[in-house]
């Protein structure tokens, strides 16, 4: 079974990102970039399935400018076998990404496509669902466990109030939640090996997709700074403030 994993290049989760002064976008100049944490979980799951003998090949794909190859190389160092980079300078949005992934899935005949449930920059939570719809295949989102058996994927989903286990016929799309696994660290020998693994570069045009964005970002701003608290003299004063100033009770 061939597994396709999509990874996104985002600002490192430990970096505190600021909005640009003109509010047009997040300021990513000189910011450490990394694989989106949910995508890293997707890579780990695919590699584990390969180590269990369930998968025969793990192909990792990323889209964006040339710098995305860093994240593909990292995924290869984590155990993926081959990389595909869709090179474009266009600011990609979920629909365009899903269309291009669909074209790659068709070409690669992947039986399982694993994506992060969302990226920590866009927070859209759309690409996996759109891909499943475009490809006309089942989807198991927010997965906390994936078991492949008898040509089906049993996916345990984290839903409000509990867990739901569903069975998907393959091919299928799975999007990962935080608790699916704990990604490994790349070892130094594997980092060296990753440089020798194949990485194909294609363009959106090669995939027959126009990546032009349909959504325009109007403004990006930082969350309002938390105001300093106050010390109240009594419970009565607290209740009064909650009722009349904060109006929360």
């Amino acid at each position: 079974m061939k597994i396709l994993v999509a990874v996104k290049r985002v600002a490192d989760a430990n970096v505190k990102v600021r909005a640009k002064a003109d509010g047009s976008a997040a300021d990513l100049a000189n910011v450490k970039m990394a694989i989106n944490p949910f995508c890293e979980i997707a890579v780990e799951e695919a590699v584990r399935l390969k180590e269990k003998g369930v998968a025969t090949e793990v192909v990792v794909v990323s889209m964006g400018d040339k710098a995305c190859q860093e994240q593909i190389r990292t995924a290869l160092a984590l155990g993926a076998d081959r990389g595909i980079h869709v090179e474009t300078d266009v600011d990609l949005q979920p629909l365009a990404i899903a269309k291009m992934l669909k074209a790659i899935v068709d070409k690669e005949s992947s039986e399982l496509i694993i994506l992060g449930k969302q990226s920590i920059d866009g927070d859209n939570n759309q690409t996996g669902q759109m891909l499943a719809a475009l490809a006309g295949i089942p989807q198991g989102t927010f997965a906390s466990e994936v078991v492949i058996e008898d040509g089906k994927a049993a996916v345990t989903r984290e839903i409000d109030g509990g867990l739901q286990t569903i069975s998907l016929s393959l091919p299928a799309v799975v999007t990962t939640d935080l608790r699916l696994n704990e990604p490994r660290y790349a070892s130094l020998p594997n980092i060296m090996k990753a440089k020798r693994k194949p990485l194909d570069v294609v363009s959106p045009a090669d995939l027959g997709v126009d990546p032009a964005p349909g959504v325009t970002t109007l403004k990006v701003e930082a969350p309002a700074e938390r105001q300093a608290g106050i010390i109240v003299e009594s419970v009565e004063e607290l209740v009064d403030k909650l009722k009349n100033e904060a109006k929360v009770i």
Binding site: R73, Y185, A186, L188, P189
Partner: protein, 351 residues
């Protein structure tokens, strides 16, 4: 001439930094202080799985066959987290000592085990009086005059000596040299002992850079959060000066450390001079960082509860081990005051 690190070296650094910064937290270090050996077998296994223990072990013995320059940035990262495990000592001191010794049996017996993480080796020189991590070493390489001896852990008795840095485990080792344990003597022994001193000093120098960096970052964060007179205290000039003085000292210490690693890796004749220069400036930077960072913390940096002391005390320990300030200043002086000293711009990159 390209002085920059290669893409691979930077990638290794980033990857190892991710691991160390996630796994070696101050809480983990405090936890290890309370353990019996002060060391973690699980952590050592992880370091071996990442390929770190075998970095300088030749490929024929199961390692990665890399050199001191490949490891120097990683050693800085080990300093940044104040790694208690003897990784830097094994990679930079023990493995090259085993490789240099003219004893194939010893190499075959120990290098594969070091690479796969199943053995540790401690090297002790008389200059240091005490031996680091002798309690967890499977093999000890010890100096006796101009000789080096390889001693099994069963043939020594150890007496613990507490260091100011609780993560450092120092032991006085009682042992008896014999012809059977001797692995180098005479001129070869002297040369090896000097090489070991250089490697040990480089290990301290590289880690001192990481320690200084960490102390600056901790203090910048603290002075950005601590408010006085309605402003973060880091906005006051007197505090800024404390921090920027360290940053300047640290920046100027990096190149000598990298130069020293290059000199050792390439067997240059100036290695001893380069190493002494590196150790002097990097431990000075770490020492200044310890002093100024404690000041900007309002002296509470020295208290048990604030993590700063973990890094500060390690910096103090590095200052006086593997050759103290006087030792290294003397080596630099011996070089530059010699009648035929090749000084001047034309000799800057003399090999």
């Amino acid at each position: 001439m390209d002085f920059t690190f290669t893409e691979d070296q930077l990638l290794f650094k980033e990857s190892v930094a991710d691991f160390l910064r996630n796994e070696i937290t101050p809480e983990k270090i405090r936890e290890l202080w309370d353990s019996e050996t002060g060391r973690s077998d699980a952590l050592w296994t992880q370091l071996a799985e990442l390929g770190l223990t075998g970095m300088t072990v030749p490929e024929e013995f199961g390692g990665l066959g890399m050199n001191e320059l490949d490891f120097v940035l990683l050693a800085q990262e080990c300093g940044y987290v104040a790694l208690p495990e003897p990784l830097v000592h094994n990679v930079l001191v023990a493995v090259p000592t085993l490789i240099a010794c003219n004893n194939d049996k010893l190499k075959k017996q120990w290098l594969p085990k070091i690479a796969d993480g199943s053995a540790k080796v401690s090297v002790g020189l008389e200059e240091n009086f005490l031996v680091e991590d002798a309690h967890v070493a499977d093999l000890l390489i010890l100096q006796s005059g101009d000789e080096l001896h390889a001693i099994s852990k069963d043939a020594v008795s150890l007496r613990y000596n507490q260091s100011i840095d609780l993560s450092r485990k120092l032991y006085a080792v009682e042992w008896t040299p014999s012809a059977a344990t001797c692995i180098a003597s005479g001129d070869e022994g002297k040369a090896q002992i000097e090489a070991i001193m250089n490697r040990g000093a480089l290990a301290c120098a590289a880690q001192a850079l990481g320690l200084a960096q960490r102390m600056i970052e901790m203090s910048v964060q603290y002075t950005s959060e601590r408010h006085q007179f309605g402003k973060p205290i880091g906005s006051f000039q007197a505090v800024k000066h404390h921090m920027s003085n360290i940053a300047v000292r640290l920046e100027y210490a990096k190149a000598p450390v990298h130069r020293a690693a290059y000199a050792i890796a390439n067997g240059q004749s100036t290695a001893s001079l380069n190493v002494s220069h590196a150790k002097l400036v990097s431990t000075e930077a770490a020492d200044l960082a310890a002093k100024n960072c404690m000041q900007v913390h309002g002296a509470m940096g020295y208290t048990w509860e604030v993590d700063l002391h973990i890094f500060m005390k390690k910096a103090w320990a590095f200052n006086s081990t593997w050759g103290d300030v006087a030792f290294h200043k003397m080596r630099v002086a011996d070089y530059i005051f010699a009648d035929d000293a090749p000084l001047g711009a034309g000799n800057t990159f003399l090999a």
